[in-house]
């Protein structure tokens, strides 16, 4: 990829930043159970740019890593798979939150925008 155009470079770096914070964003909304689409909507409403094709596999991966727990809700008209943080997930989220706060404070200082 020959990305020497300013705009393309900015896009690349922006994507990197977003990718870096995606897990934290997703985990932060799973303190209460959500199903795929409801989570997607909530994230989009809160200005997290994520696509369905990214979120759904991510949820499965996080479940495989035992960060999320899932259960099928068959009470409604249509069965839905709900995800929520596991206890390990809660711990990880807490840690990530403090890491993020520390990091962003530091970066803000660096760029002079404290």
């Amino acid at each position: 990829m020959i990305l020497y155009e300013k705009d393309e470079l900015i896009t690349t770096f922006e994507i990197e930043l977003k990718r870096g914070t995606l897990t934290l964003a997703v985990l932060s909304q799973l303190k209460t159970p959500q199903y795929g689409y409801s989570l997607l909507q909530e994230l989009v409403d809160k200005n997290v740019e994520i696509e369905a094709g990214t979120l759904y596999p991510l949820l499965r991966r996080l479940e495989k890593q035992e960060i999320l727990e899932s259960s099928w809700d068959t009470s409604e008209s249509r069965p839905r798979k709900y995800y929520v943080l596991s206890s390990k997930g809660f711990e990880i989220l807490e840690k990530l939150e403090s890491i993020w706060i520390g990091m962003s404070l530091n970066i803000n200082k660096l760029i002079g925008r404290e």
């Binding site: 795929g36 369905a52 759904y56 596999p57 499965r60 069965p79």
Partner: protein, 333 residues
Amino acid sequence: MDLINRYVKEVVKQLPEDTREDVEKELKSNILDMLPEDYTDEDVRKVLTELGDPQKLSKEFRGAKRYLIGPDFYDNYLLVLKIVAIVLACVMPFVAVISAFSEAKTIALPDVLIDAFVKMIVLTIQAAFQAFAWITVVFAAIERAGVSACELPVSAKTWTVDDLKEVVWDKKKAINIADPIVSIIFSIAFLAVMYYSDVLIGWYRLKDNINGNDFSVIPLFNSEVISRFFPYMVILSAFIIAISILKVIYRQWNMKLAVVNLVYNLFSAVYVFSFFTCKGLISNEFINQVAAETDFSVTQVDSFVGKFVIGIAVLATIGIAVDTVEGFLKARK
């Protein structure tokens, strides 16, 4: 609904058995959530387009690695390729020459050399492709086997400022990189020589055109014995090559390496000993020839040769023992 089913089937088609059903259920549920109450075909098309190429989505679910050999193992991969290339470059001319000489019908040197040259080129290209293919396959497998990357250091010695000095950092433990490479070259050359031993090693005689050859060879070794032992020679050589590669990668003795070395040396000691003490190792024709050319009787030559061979066996075994002990001593410090 049909479109949805087709889409979902396409996505889960390549997923492993155990997750297929669950993903299918979940994905369908998600798609239906993305659609309004009374959805039309239009709506379905929009949603499916939004989800994108089912193949791509399937890859995301599979978590398939998008590379053959990843960054963790790439350096080691390159290192192994380099070593093998060096070995081939040194060994191939030698093997080609041996092969050419063994098939030589005349002692006209130019002809034999030309043959050797051609063989060298052909053999080198063949061997190079084979080696490249096998090394790549092995590393691609390692990549997918979930091996922890830190188990294969490119070089186990961690750099310190002391390395800048002329003095070798830890002479006691270091493995000279030339040694294993020489081992590899030597074992391949040895195999080649042994393979053609019935026409290479023996008593050469100039004859007047018997069978159209300018010379004949009375083989030193009994070819039956050689062919019996040859498969084991190949296996042992394969081991020596593997161990030598390990030595190059680790660059210093450690306990694991010393133990592996010990195991290999045990096998080769047993093998070498049984090879040299095998009855009838030296061919009868050779013994007869020696007896004919000297003043000794056949029985005298036979017993002398027998003692000589056992002497070699003992020496070889001692040499192997020394190597094993050296390995442990160096690993200890």
